[in-house]
């Protein structure tokens, strides 16, 4: 009855998805590819955009679509964290010092927009937070003793069907019962509890706390003289040789290591984790060289270099040379100065500017 009174446009056409205006298409399909900072900026475009960006469903879809590393968190021991965006216009958080958490923390691990931090005082509690929305959660205490600098890896894979972020935390810790052995403690957000895996990795000496990397369901750490691989589905561990390795990363779905000699940086991919069990004289190799990275000399200069690689993934590599930190983009092959006053003891964690809800 009322329909006849409405002037002008036909309602039927407006509600029909086939005839969607491109403005609506952009709002519904393109915005979710933007990083969180741009989205918070674009809330002021108009009411419709603000409404769209504010819905939990949008936040969920954005966390699925916007997946590239857009900045790095740097933190010196005892200092407050800082966020170095790769592009300051589009990546950012309201409070990079994480003062919204109840106590000063050390960032331990980062995964697709979430950070795992550890408090410095008292019982050294773990916190999970999203620094954009400033939502946070304190994790229950584990029965295991993770030691003074726990080797933590946070694992969060946004999934279409899981509306609530589901994540796991894996900690490799020195066994209390056996010498020179490593055990694994696993926190799962679904159960909201820690559980020590049945697996014990013998012969693994000290696990390097900052070295953990997750690749396709397997977590790798460097130890003094070797590497540990822990398969999450099988809950089995394996010792791998890797004495010349400085840093591990995930590159194109495979584990990679980076070797630096002088001014050249070489990226190697793990192709066979079982070379130690191959027959004698087998030609199969554990690593295969993927590519050599040459930083732009116009930006890094021609002087003698002392590179150390802080982070590597499929998209970017973060390299430090003295006080300067560079990013190298694998797609555009561009080198960029990220920071010119970095402490060499900084911890470096990749960060995705995501709206994911906890």
């Amino acid at each position: 009855m009322d329909r006849g009174k409405r002037p002008g446009r036909s309602l039927a056409a407006r509600n029909n998805k086939i005839y969607l205006d491109f403005k609506d298409i952009i709002r519904e399909h393109a915005l979710l590819f933007l990083p969180a900072k741009s989205l918070c900026k674009f809330r002021t475009v108009c009411r419709d955009w603000r409404l769209q960006i504010s819905t939990p469903f949008f936040a969920h879809n954005q966390s699925l679509s916007c997946r590239s590393t857009s900045g790095i968190f740097l933190q010196t021991p005892g200092g407050s964290p800082s966020l170095v965006p790769i592009d300051a216009n589009s990546c950012g958080v309201p409070d990079p010092f994480l003062r919204f958490l109840p106590e000063p923390v050390d960032i331990k691990s980062s995964s697709n927009g979430l950070l795992c931090c550890q408090g410095r005082e008292g019982d050294k509690a773990y916190y999970i937070c999203n620094p954009v929305t400033q939502q946070w959660k304190k994790l229950p205490k584990s029965d295991a003793n993770h030691g003074p600098d726990p080797a933590i890896v946070l694992l969060f894979e946004p999934s279409l069907l899981n509306f609530v972020a589901e994540y796991k935390i894996i900690c490799a810790f020195p066994s209390a019962d056996f010498g020179e052995a490593t055990e694994f403690d696993i926190y799962s957000s679904r159960e909201d509890s820690w559980e020590i895996a049945g697996e014990i990795c013998f012969g693994a000496r000290r696990v390097m706390p900052k070295s953990g990397v997750h690749v396709n369901g397997v977590v790798y750490w460097m130890t003094t003289g070797s590497m540990i691989a822990f398969d999450l589905t099988k809950e089995r561990s394996q010792l791998l040789q890797g004495y010349d390795t400085r840093i591990l990363g995930a590159f194109g779905g495979k584990l990679c290591k980076v070797n630096v000699t002088g001014g050249s940086i070489n990226l190697n991919i793990l192709v066979n984790a079982h070379t130690n069990t191959m027959q004698m004289g087998s030609r199969s190799r554990m690593w295969s060289e993927k590519q050599a990275v040459v930083l732009d000399s116009k930006i890094v200069g021609d002087l003698a270099r002392n590179y150390s690689v802080l982070h590597v993934d499929s998209e970017i590599m973060v390299v430090q040379d003295g006080e300067r930190t560079y990013s190298y983009d694998f797609k555009s092959r561009a080198t960029k100065v990220l920071s010119s006053r970095a402490d060499s003891h900084s911890r470096c964690l990749p960060y995705v500017n995501s709206l994911v809800a906890l």
């Binding site: 298409i25 399909h29 393109a30 590819f33 933007l34 002021t44 216009n89």
Partner: protein, 167 residues
Amino acid sequence: MASSSSSSKTGLKKMLTLKSSDGDEFELEESIVIQCQTIKHMVEDGFSLIPLQNVDTKTLTKIIEYMKKHAEKTESNKEEIKNFNKEFVKGSFDDQFELVSAANYLHINGLMDLLCQSIADRINNKSVRAVREIFNISNDYTPDEEEKVRDEHKWAHEGGEFDESLD
């Protein structure tokens, strides 16, 4: 069915005809066209001449170019497809809007994601004012309201030089 299969040279490939809003007809193999969900459903319903009233010839030509290239996709030409995609999304915002409307109507998911990612990359650094201009969106906030919404996320408006250009 018999007539359409005899018209193709191999005698095996089923051909379909797409008709743009300008009336131009394009004959294509079915295997190429079924990347597009809307047409796939029409083919399943037995159509072989498909009128596309919302897609003009210029846009349809571009879309066919995309579908042909992506139908060739194999493990070995990933790099080539990547470069093709890179070239494909070059062009003015207006061209992209035409394409995105058509891709949305035709339900070509891969193309939709490619275009949306590209549009997102292009507006990422833009100022709020530039975005309104580009998409022809009118500001429906009162100045007070706009100020308030801005203050809710002040940090997002700081720390960078936003691009005011419209291309």
